[in-house]
Symmetry: D2
Subunit: 276 residues, 4 copies
Amino acid sequence: FCNVTLWLYQLSKAGKLCVPAMNVNDSVTKQKFDNLYCCRESILDGLKRTTDVMFGGKQVIVCGYGEVGKGCCAALKALGAIVYVTEIDPICALQACMDGFRVVKLNEVIRQVDVIITCTGNKNVVTRDQLDRMKNGSIVCNMGHSNTEIDVASLRTPELTWERVRSQVDHVIWPDGKRVILLAEGRLLNLSCSTVPTFVLSITATTQALALIELYNAPEGRYKQDVYLLPKKMDEYVASLHLATFDAHLTELSDEQAKYLGLNKNGPFKPNYYRY
Amino acid sequence: FCNVTLWLYQLSKAGKLCVPAMNVNDSVTKQKFDNLYCCRESILDGLKRTTDVMFGGKQVIVCGYGEVGKGCCAALKALGAIVYVTEIDPICALQACMDGFRVVKLNEVIRQVDVIITCTGNKNVVTRDQLDRMKNGSIVCNMGHSNTEIDVASLRTPELTWERVRSQVDHVIWPDGKRVILLAEGRLLNLSCSTVPTFVLSITATTQALALIELYNAPEGRYKQDVYLLPKKMDEYVASLHLATFDAHLTELSDEQAKYLGLNKNGPFKPNYYRY
Amino acid sequence: FCNVTLWLYQLSKAGKLCVPAMNVNDSVTKQKFDNLYCCRESILDGLKRTTDVMFGGKQVIVCGYGEVGKGCCAALKALGAIVYVTEIDPICALQACMDGFRVVKLNEVIRQVDVIITCTGNKNVVTRDQLDRMKNGSIVCNMGHSNTEIDVASLRTPELTWERVRSQVDHVIWPDGKRVILLAEGRLLNLSCSTVPTFVLSITATTQALALIELYNAPEGRYKQDVYLLPKKMDEYVASLHLATFDAHLTELSDEQAKYLGLNKNGPFKPNYYRY
Amino acid sequence: FCNVTLWLYQLSKAGKLCVPAMNVNDSVTKQKFDNLYCCRESILDGLKRTTDVMFGGKQVIVCGYGEVGKGCCAALKALGAIVYVTEIDPICALQACMDGFRVVKLNEVIRQVDVIITCTGNKNVVTRDQLDRMKNGSIVCNMGHSNTEIDVASLRTPELTWERVRSQVDHVIWPDGKRVILLAEGRLLNLSCSTVPTFVLSITATTQALALIELYNAPEGRYKQDVYLLPKKMDEYVASLHLATFDAHLTELSDEQAKYLGLNKNGPFKPNYYRY
C-alpha cells in the first residue's frame, strides 16, 4: 500500500492533520485498477521495452504479494515464467501458495533467478550482499514505492563499473565481468519504462474528482480533521461509469430481491469491510 | 457473502443481539479459503462427480462475481470453458471484465449456455421462464447460499417430469422432450456433491476456535452486544499456522525496516481496511 | 505415445503384419482429445474422487511431457499447484520450460513433492528407492501406459503394510508409520478412477469407424501390409462433425483465397507433417 | 505455416527445384519457438509499444489458430482479454474450442471487437467492407505472413484520411470521424513493432546452421532435388543445446528402459509424425 497514505494516517494519529482527507488510494477502483490490473500489464511492458527479455522459462522472484505483486506474478506466470514470492505477511504468503507460487526467502533463490522485482513499499529489500550473488545477466527492477526498495546506493562503489546501455538501463559490472541489469536506477519501472493506459488514468482521476466533490459538498461537520475512505457508493459510481467501455450489462435487483437482501436497488451493495 | 452474517448484523442493528458476536465468515482466511480457493476446486469436482461433463468448449454462465463466483470462473476458464458473468454490483462487474469475462444479463445468453451456476446469496436468480428457454441437456446448479437461488419450486408442475438419474441428479423433462439437468435440487453443489478438503476445514475451524478464545479471554467490556471482525492479528495467526503445509518461508522485517514502515515485526501487517 | 501403436510398427518392421493397419491413435483428433484435452480434466477428477486432495499450493511432479503430461501439467498449474516435470526428450523438455515448469530429475525433488504422476509409457519410472524417500501422505499415481510405470511390485514386501482405505486407494505404510497413497495399484488413473466424457468417446469412435470404412472401401492395392496414418481429410472430417456441439462457425475460403494458398476449398488444409 | 516453405514444395512438385532443400521452418524447435512461444510475447509487446492499449476486458478477434494464432490467443486471454477465433480448418477450430475460445465468422463480431489480429498466411482476410463496420478506436494488425492479410490497399481511397500519429501507427479516418488504428501498414507487427528475443534467434540460427552442415556432410545421394525436414535427431540436438539456459536437467533412460521402449538412449525419441 501507498506510503503517502501511510503518512496521512500518521499525521492524523499525531493530531497534525489540519483538514479532512480522503484516502482515495484505498478505494476499490483505485486499488484494483491502478495497482493490480495496471501492473499486471506494465511489468511485462516495462521489462520488454528496456531489455527485450523473453519471459518463457525465466526464473523470477517477486518481493511482496500485495496488489502490485499479485499483478506481476499473474502476468509472468501466464507467460511461462517460473515465479517465486517473498512475503512478511502470513496471509499474503498463504495467498501466494494457493495461487501456485513457492514462498521463499530471497537468499534461497538469489543465485538462480533471472529477474528480481520488488513490490513491497519497504526499504533495502534487495541488498548489496544479495546483488553480489546474482547471476551474470540477471535483471533487477522495482515496481513498489519510491526508489528505496533496491539498495542502489550500495552499487555506487569504485570496484563496480556502471554502463548506461540505453535510456533507463544500466549494466552494473563486477570486477569479474559479471553484469547485473538495473532498470530505472531502482525507481518505479511502471512509471519510468512503461505507460499507464488512459483507462486506468480515467478511473483514478474520476475517483479523485468525486472525492473532492464529496468533501466540498458535505454538510458542515460530516468530515473532521481525519482520514476517510471514499464512500462505498461513490466507489461503485466510479465503476459504473466505466462499464460502457466493455459493453458490460449490469443486472438489476427486483424489488423482491432487494428486500430479501436488505439492500437499496441502487447500492451500496456491499458492507464496508468487503474485500472484493 | 454469507446470509447468516447478514442476519447477525440485522439483529445487532435492531438491538436484539444479546451477546457479543464474531463475524468469522469475513475474516480473510475464512473468506479466501472457504469461499474463493475451495470453490475454485469444488465447482469442478461437483460437476464432474454428478454429470461427467467435459469442461473444454462449454459455455457457462456464472451468476455473481463475489469470492465464490470468482473461484468458479477462474477454474472453468482455466479448463477451457467460455464463461459469462452476471452482476448487480458495478465494482464486481468491472473486476469480471478485467479478468476476461463478458458481463451480460442472463437473458442475453440463456438460449446458448450449457451450464448455469448461481453464486449470489440472492433468491430467484434463475426463474422458470429462463429454465423454459434453456437448451436440451443443459445443467443448472447452485454454489451460493441456501436453496433459493434457482426457483426450483416453479419446476414442480404437472407438465414437467422429474427423473432421478442418480443421487443428487435430476433430469427435469419438458413436454417436448427437452431435459434440463438439475443438481442437488438447487441446494449447494459444493456441500451436496463435492467434498471440502481437510486443509480448508482446518483453516475455518482454527478461525472459529481463535474467535471463541478471544471472546472468552477478552477483558470485561472490550466486546459489547455487537458484531465484530476477528482481530487482524488472529487472522494472520491462522494463516501462519498453515504455512508449514506448503513449506513456505516467511521473510522477517529487520528492525530498521519495521521502523521505516511503522509496523511491529510480529504484525499486524495491514490496516483493517486492507482487501488482500 | 501409445505402446499398442509401437507394437504395430514393430510388427510391420519385422514383416509380420499380415493386414493393412490404421494408426488411429496418432490421428490429430484422437491424440489431442483422448490424450491432451481429456487428461487435462481426468487428472483432476481422478485425484479428487480418490483422495479429496486440495490442489492449491501442492507440489506435484509430472513424469513425461507428452500430450498426457501436457494436459496434467496445464490443469494442475491452473488450479494453483506448483508443478515440476521430468523428461528424456530435449524437445519436450524445452516445451516444459517455455510453459513455465522446472525440468528436474525425479531425485532432485522426491523429498518435497506431495504428488507424483507418471505419463511416460515407460517402465520403472518411479522406483522403490524413490518411494522410500517420499513424504508422509504423498500420493503416487499413473496416467501413462499399462501398470509398469510405478514399480508397484517392489512395494509388496513384508516390511510394508498395505491398507485399502477405499476402492482404488491403498495406503502403503512404512515401518516408521509413513504412508504413501497409491492409486489404482499403479494402473491408469483416468480409466480406473475417473470417467471419459462422451464427447471424447464420440471423437475416438468416429475416428475408428472412419478408419475401418477407409480400409474397406479403398481400391485394391492402396493399402499394403503396413501401418498407415488416417488420411488428413478424414481427420478433418471427424473434427468438423463435432463443431456443432460448440456452435462453432467455420470460415470458408473464397475461390481467390483457395487459389492463393494452393488449397482445395474443402481441405485437406495442412501438409501431413503439420503438428497442430 | 510459412509461404516460403509452400513455394519450395510447389517448386519441387513442378520439378523445378535444382538443389536439395531443408524445410527448417517446420522443424519442431523452429515452429514452436519462432512461431508459438515468440508470438505469445511479441503480440503483447507490439500492441503496447504502438498503442499503449490496456488488454484487460478488451474484445479481440484472432484470425487463424495455427502456431502464431495459438500464441496470440493464449497471451491475450491470460491478460484478461475476451478472445474470438476464426478458422477455415475444422481441426484447428476444434482446438480453439477446447482452449476456451468461441469460433465465429469475422462478420459476427466485427462491430463489437476492439482489436483484429490476422495470423493466417492468407490474403484479404480483413476486407474494406469489414473495416467500414469496425468501431471507432479499434485496432487492426497483422501477425501472419507478408502484408496481404489486411486489404490495406482498399483503405487508400479519397474519402478516407490517413494520419500518421507515430512511427508504425496510422489513424485511418472515415468521413464521419471514425478512426481505425492500423499498425505497420498491415505488415508484420512482430517484426515491425516488437523485437525478437535473442533466445529465439539462437534457436532459429542453430537450426539453420545444422541444416546446412547436414546437407554439406551428407553422403552423395542421400538428398535429391527435393524438400526435406530436418532429421529428428538434429531437431533434438538444437533443443538440448538450449536447455542449460533454463538450468533444465534431462532424465536419462536406463539400458532396461531403452530396450523396453525400443529406443536408442541418445535419441531420436519420437517417430517422425509426432506432433509435440
